[in-house]
């Protein structure tokens, strides 16, 4: 596989702190997913957890949407608690198109598209996100059985400079048509 390696983030697992992060993250993602499934059931008007899980496995759009939203909220909250430099977390629509967005859109993957606004970008946050991503995959696979799933998290980190200059993914914050939804702020 040809890949521009310099752009791929390497997770620095050697750091002792990260072990702590990882165990914490797995704990969080497990419970967050559990809660998200419950939330999904509540919203879809069923108590039968298995039905919900089945729907999620089949990629039911409504179910995935609820799961996605609730999970994103929990993840954002966790991240906010973990990294002081985070100012706000948004979810955004990765494939927003014309005004009739709902027309025949392929099923959305249960991907968390997060926009994380930090004062300053740090390696530590990158590492944390890497860990979090793996924890999410692990918990998700355990719960919903999706072998081969490698990532669940699309986290775009933007800093004050980018926000002020309206560049990078921070430009999304000025969206008129599909403005990201703020799910957490300090």
């Amino acid at each position: 596989m040809k890949r521009k390696t310099e752009t791929v983030q390497k997770v620095q697992t050697a750091d002792a702190d990260l072990q702590l992060v990882l165990s914490n993250a797995i704990g969080m993602t497990e419970s967050a997913l559990e809660e998200a499934v419950d939330y999904c059931g509540r919203k879809m008007g069923t108590d039968d957890r298995q039905t919900v899980v089945e729907q999620l496995k089949q990629g039911d759009r409504t179910a995935c949407g609820y799961l996605y939203y609730h999970l994103a909220g929990q993840v954002a909250e966790w991240l906010g608690a973990w990294d002081e430099s985070i100012k706000a977390v948004y979810i955004y629509d990765s494939d927003a198109t014309a005004e009739d967005v709902c027309f025949g859109r392929p099923e959305t993957p249960p991907m968390l598209h997060l926009l994380i606004w930090v004062q300053r970008k740090t390696n530590a946050l990158d590492a944390t996100l890497g860990v979090l991503s793996r924890a999410l995959v692990q918990s998700y696979t355990e719960l919903l059985g999706r072998p081969g799933l490698e990532h669940l998290l699309d986290a775009q980190v933007v800093d004050d400079n980018e926000v002020n200059n309206n560049i990078g993914y921070s430009a999304l914050l000025c969206s008129l048509h599909t403005c990201p939804i703020r799910i957490w702020e300090r």
Partner: protein, 427 residues
């Protein structure tokens, strides 16, 4: 920034066009503000028995050319000024596409993900019960938008029909095909983009078959734009960009001989992710997400996120790019636009380029009205005619007034609305 008022921005954009057209002050005053606004509250009985009161809006910016048209948005950050701006934008969009509709937009300040399915249905019906006197196939025809779905349109249409005492499918568009929706709409926006690209290349004297394109995104619009460029124009699609589940970043998929959009569709899983292994095996090259914009191609089609062609990325556009077709809504920031203008690249502005969607919505209303439904091919054929005519309307204006295509599109739109008002004796 978040602090920027979108309605002021929309008014400023209008003022600029009004200056170019040298419109008189009284006409500007009519168009700078919506003609009608509805602010209402929708009481919602929640699953737990409590009552939640939600704020709803409907803005009818201008209906000189026909009933208002525009989506209903369920979004927690919705503001009246966003709705106003989008309603004004719809007026221009319908006018530039030359469909006999005006501009409207509606919304509810709510996060739909926080509502149960039953609550959503109740909200939809609640919205209609507040607005039903002021919407209808001859007044205002809403459609789905951010946070709303075809299912919701069906609920709303049902509620409206109940209140009217008769079946009125044409009051909402974007309905499921089985419930009065139109065929062809899945492809409509993406193919519409390609119809305009085709005309642009013709204007520039370029042979589409010898042209290459880079497409951002691989969602609905991007997929059909890629298919259209490849199948209909015979051009080479150098790359598409899409999310990759194997990494936390989107990637650009390119192929030395051009990508085969059908193949890529075939190896895209139900989650919309292209299978990297299979892609690599077929000779695809996977690059950084931002790579699409730097490609040495003739045509660039940003068909995903808003504001991604900006001060940072616009300078990276390759010197050989001749056409930018804005498949997405608002893919270009003001700064990005300035750079494109300076470079003299032929731009097909978003509200012309992706008007295939709204045109098909209009077709849906037309079919509902006559209670006769066209085949997919008929829809796409008519769409081609409409888009081609719309494109040339804008091109003529750009040539005649010697202005940038985006400005020309606004001029065409504003001028058409002004003339409608003139003919109706409003001004």
């Amino acid at each position: 920034m978040e602090g920027q008022n979108p309605f002021l921005t929309a008014q400023a954009q209008f003022d600029k066009s009004a200056d170019l057209l040298d419109l008189p002050q009284d006409i500007r005053e009519i168009l700078r503000w919506p003609m009608r606004e509805f602010h209402f509250r929708i009481p919602l009985r929640m699953g737990d028995g409590s009552i939640k009161v939600l704020q709803g809006f409907r803005v009818q910016h201008n209906d000189a050319r026909g009933p208002s048209k525009g989506g209903i948005r369920f979004h927690p950050n919705e503001t009246i000024d966003t709705v106003r701006a989008l309603a004004m934008w719809m007026t221009w969009k319908c006018a530039v596409a030359d469909i006999p509709l005006g501009g409207g937009k509606g919304g509810v300040i709510v996060n739909p993900a926080s509502l149960t399915t039953a609550e959503k249905e109740q909200l939809c019906r609640g919205w209609v019960s507040q607005m039903w006197h002021n919407i209808g196939p001859r007044m205002d025809v809403p459609a789905p938008d951010v946070g709303t779905t075809g299912q919701m349109m069906a609920w709303m249409m049902d509620e409206f029909s109940k209140l009217q005492g008769q079946y009125v499918p044409g009051v909402f568009t974007g309905k499921p095909v089985d419930m009065g929706g139109s065929l062809g709409r899945t492809e409509a926006t993406g193919f519409g983009v390609i119809f305009t690209v085709r005309e642009a290349l013709k204007h520039l004297g370029l042979d589409p078959a010898a042209c290459s394109a880079a497409i951002q995104g691989f969602g609905n619009v991007a997929q059909y734009a890629a298919i259209g460029f490849h199948d209909m124009l015979g051009g080479k699609v150098v790359c598409v960009s899409c999310y990759d589940l194997k990494d936390k970043k989107p990637y650009t998929y390119s192929h030395p001989d051009g990508v085969d959009p059908h193949f890529l569709q075939g190896i895209t899983d139900q989650y919309g992710t292209i299978d990297q292994e299979k892609a690599t095996a077929a000779g695809y090259v996977i690059e950084d997400a931002g790579a699409w914009i730097e490609k040495d191609v003739d045509v660039l089609i940003p068909a995903a996120l808003e504001n991604m062609v900006n001060a940072e990325t616009a300078p990276l556009i390759h010197k050989n790019v001749k056409v930018i077709a804005e498949g997405a809504n608002g893919p270009t920031t003001l700064e990005g636009d300035q750079l494109i203008k300076e470079r003299g690249i032929f731009l097909i502005p978003d509200f012309l380029c992706n008007a295939g969607g709204v045109t098909t919505s209009y077709f849906e209303g037309v079919q509902n009205d006559m209670n006769y439904y066209w085949s997919r091919d008929e829809v796409l054929q008519r769409l081609d005619t409409k888009m081609t005519v719309a494109f040339h309307g804008v091109l003529d204006m750009a040539l005649r007034q010697k202005v940038y295509m985006r400005d020309a599109a606004y001029l065409v739109a504003v001028d058409r609305v002004v003339r409608a008002m003139q003919l109706r004796g409003w001004v």
